[in-house]
Subunit: 685 residues, 2 copies
Amino acid sequence: MLQQTSSVNAFPKKKNEYQRTIRLDTCIAQKVLYVVGTTLKTNLGRCAPPNSTFFSVKCTPSVKYDIIPPPKESSHLSPITLNEKSVLLISMSGASQYENDSKLSVRYYSQDKDILGNAILHLTALEISLDVDADRDGVVEKNNPNKGSWKWGPDGHGAILLVNCDSERSYFQKPDNEVDYISKLSDLKDMSVMVLRTRGPARLPDGYKLTMHICQGHADGVRVYRPKPRYTSNSISGVANEFAQVLCSNVLSREVPYLGGAAEMNFYVEGLKFPDKDFDGLISISLSLLEPICTGLPETPIFTDTVMFRVAPWIMTPNTLRPVEVFVCSTSDNYSFLKGMRSLVANSGYKLNICHEYMNRGDRWMQDELEFGYIDAPHHRFPVVLDSPRDGKLLDFPYKELLGPDFGYVTRVALRKDVSSLDSFGNLEVSPPVTVNGKKYPLGRIIIGVAFPTTTKGRNMTQVVQDFLWAQKVQQPIALFSDWLLVGHVDEFMTFVPAPDRKGFRLLLASPDAGYKLFRGLKNNGHGQARLFEGRRDQEPITVDDILEDAGFQAENNYVQSCIDWNRDVLKRELGLDDSDIIDLPILFKLQQDEDNEYRAVAFYPDMVNLIVLGKNLGIPKPFGPKVNGRCALEEEMSSLMEDLGLSCTFIDDFASYHRLLGEVHCGSNVRREPFDFKWWNLDM
Amino acid sequence: MLQQTSSVNAFPKKKNEYQRTIRLDTCIAQKVLYVVGTTLKTNLGRCAPPNSTFFSVKCTPSVKYDIIPPPKESSHLSPITLNEKSVLLISMSGASQYENDSKLSVRYYSQDKDILGNAILHLTALEISLDVDADRDGVVEKNNPNKGSWKWGPDGHGAILLVNCDSERSYFQKPDNEVDYISKLSDLKDMSVMVLRTRGPARLPDGYKLTMHICQGHADGVRVYRPKPRYTSNSISGVANEFAQVLCSNVLSREVPYLGGAAEMNFYVEGLKFPDKDFDGLISISLSLLEPICTGLPETPIFTDTVMFRVAPWIMTPNTLRPVEVFVCSTSDNYSFLKGMRSLVANSGYKLNICHEYMNRGDRWMQDELEFGYIDAPHHRFPVVLDSPRDGKLLDFPYKELLGPDFGYVTRVALRKDVSSLDSFGNLEVSPPVTVNGKKYPLGRIIIGVAFPTTTKGRNMTQVVQDFLWAQKVQQPIALFSDWLLVGHVDEFMTFVPAPDRKGFRLLLASPDAGYKLFRGLKNNGHGQARLFEGRRDQEPITVDDILEDAGFQAENNYVQSCIDWNRDVLKRELGLDDSDIIDLPILFKLQQDEDNEYRAVAFYPDMVNLIVLGKNLGIPKPFGPKVNGRCALEEEMSSLMEDLGLSCTFIDDFASYHRLLGEVHCGSNVRREPFDFKWWNLDM
């Protein structure tokens, strides 16, 4: 990962490393502003009058000093031999009540102990600390020694920023990070609080000032607000325009007031963009104390305190997390599907959201237009929808219907020509938590489908979305091969369901071999004449015997099995799975020519792996398989496999309105789920 | 840093993790191509005929197999009970001589031990290894288990690529990485050799092929060449057009021939771009064995081997490294400077290169237009000039005069409006090796000058150059404050000289305090009337007394000292220096209004810190200081300080032709130095 840019590393990580060189002057008494916790350092020889041989140091009780190298003289009361390299280190333990209330003087003597000169320092001590929630407990602690850097893991540190990508207003929608003011007071809770704590005299000495600043490289990732001068944090009346912007992409540095006495001033820090290929997510904010020189010269920063934030990544939620609400489209022709879903969702105790036709304009593929995720910080978290560049007729739904208060929105814009069917988010899934060769992925791993890297042709998920997914880091993606499918989505051949044992889940894979095995078993038991699609008016029935006798169809399914096996091998390696973690579902495919006359696979009967997981209830495409003793043999097999895991199967008729359009239950729905209990910043990266 | 993009992680890191699922088929005998070192895995139950209760396995001696879970039967000769989960693992220890020369069969039995079916595998074994110099010894070893990943440090691994930024042709100059063919055979030595080693039957079975591929995200960083088919590596006649491009940004995948028997084929890998903000420097190249399916379907990769390279960073050379050649400009007015430099360089035993007026067009600031560095790999290294976006009249010099065979060129293009005086490379230096709080920087740290981050105004080094410098990683940069100077370069107040003791070097800092101390000493010893600039016709002389009495001038110098002290504190922290590692040089400055009417500092007399280091010889601007007993007091002080380090001072008169134009000896020269002995890949990052 790239380092932070330039200016930041000019400042020390910890205040106690902060040593400032000052000049002694025997001609004029000097006024020095000192920051508690730092050390002033001065070379005693550099400004000594000519022929100085001895020196002595005197100070008020509030001041401490050390002479290096330590003088040979046993007492500091008598003059000490001046060494060309002698250095005086000065510190004070607490803030001054009044300007120049402390003093230190150095007296120089000749060989004969005649006084040659006095260098006098009038000292004013300040306490300054720019504070954040660096220990990630939701509270801004005081002067955390690690606040200036960021470390992953349970023993890590460093504050966290949310991308303020929700919208406080339900109408006039635009994500708040695209609006450069605080539109409503509730917006503050999406920001990270940063506190400037100061203690010292009522006013800063003339010409000194405090300034807050960010570097150019971080400037388009963050904004900082504070209550306008006439309001203090305690007197906020609830009106958003009481807040002024301190820093943004055009203002990299701004003076902030010194309040005097013991004071705290709250700032609100707003994240503007997600980690991506060219942004590692780290943002530093600094506060400097500036010393005046004279008109026309820039002030010198004599003390700088820096805090570091990491922007929270976008996190996906696997099927093993508890559902919150289910989304489906209502179209003119999907009554039976809707009826099935309505009853499944109601019985499971979740909320069903129906996207109506004025919004979906006939686009029923709720899975494909968007992916639900969330962002999380110690102070706040909320769901965020990732809008696909697919942009079908459901295009407006994520922005117009989902974006709102505490519901964020993010998208990646791709060129039209770069977008393919593989950019639909049926091709973007996430595994449950796994451990792979000892490496833990407590938030699981993202799974996408692409073309084989070995072919020059082939469709892919667009690079901007892939870059975004990889840059989130906390659910390191796996690329599968899905381009062998006509539609090309990983959810056509795989899904995850919860399990009470082993790793807490099973990987379900479509398996033509399992399908053939089941059909051969049926034939063997005298059911070769049982028919698939029995009773459907929209599909010619076919017998088990006919299927088993079609050598070409068998060859197509052998090919499909080899494609799925290739993915099976990758999934086993990358998710650390054994064969016992995988269940093969009896599903047959057929090859069909696509618009480029290439042969690609589609499900032969409703693709049961394309299911929806609602806790222990599964909504499964009704396969319309051969009936044995009045029961569908495919449903029976599926139910039996799932019952072993304590899961209950509901078969939903999606044949006419989804299956024949090359999708199934999962393609036609979406589920927003609870976030992980595990906090992403506790990952060991 | 970002992870590699999609496709790469679909392949295992080590060959022995590579397990491939294959299908058994009792209907037709199958031909299987096996890669030595992998394991074939098949589920015995999945394709078993209905009612199978037992099975047995038979194979030729070249084949090894394991049954999991291990059968309870003590001997494999009698039929074994078939478990639904039974898995067969198959491997072979060496390559086949002939196609299908090995065989394995599985026989299925009923409860009564009647034979229900036979699944037969005809096996052909291949050895395939894509090899690179992953152990960094300059030789391509065979199948390094770590070749697919990259790790820093002496116990690290991973191959290295050079950016092929030199030009094999001395005329028609263009860096080779901008030309998409091999212009001369000598170009091959700038590339990394990659060897494809195969062993097996004379030909691959029908329809199988080998393909080499890279992913989209790496494609603009690399090209791969190989000898054209009719040439083998051994018969290269020396003609560059015998090489064909295999991969480049437009060709992400290409078939490569299988030679048969025991064969090696050399490939040549060319790095195209340096690490930068959006490129972490890592590039993977894969080789896959593809299995044919049938016409119209993409072949399936059944084995993939991957190697990973890191592009070598651009590395700067500090003053402590041995010089190779010195560069200066000849102008109509710099005779005395040239004379001094010529004699210094000749006496020091190095080569002097003079850039003549037809090329420099009066631009004498050789330091500012370019920075010398180098790139290094186990197989080759060469110097690389970083061309500044300054683009003064010396603009053409780096490209037209320096770029050539084994002399590389790199630049970063900035918008004209973003380029300031701080983009001149007198503002880009590098420290000798240091250790900071236990962290080692064996290649030193880059040092640049910027404006205080606390001011909204102020000049800066342009972001594209800063991003480039930070992205090289191995000499982690430090940003100093140099905007207080009219010209704004760090070489106006600091440099490094070699030292026989301590850390092997001293940091020299300009110090007005040291200057005043020296002048006050002179006055005190009765030399107050000694005059600076004595005898120069182009500069009014001034006495020591006059200098000491000018309170305004003293105030200006106090300001300058405070600016330098600020940088001193940063340098001490970031380079881990003590005061004893620093020498203060007696140099005074004055403030002068710049074109924006801001006051900024320039050297009052020739700025001795702006010196050139040639081994133990220093070329120092002749300061024209006050003479005491016929000797310049400033030269005497400088010589005395340097003599303690065993360094010899030559004072060069640059007054008229450099100092009065606001530069000195260092600004007017440049030194190309030997590379570090330390290899950058041995850094612990």
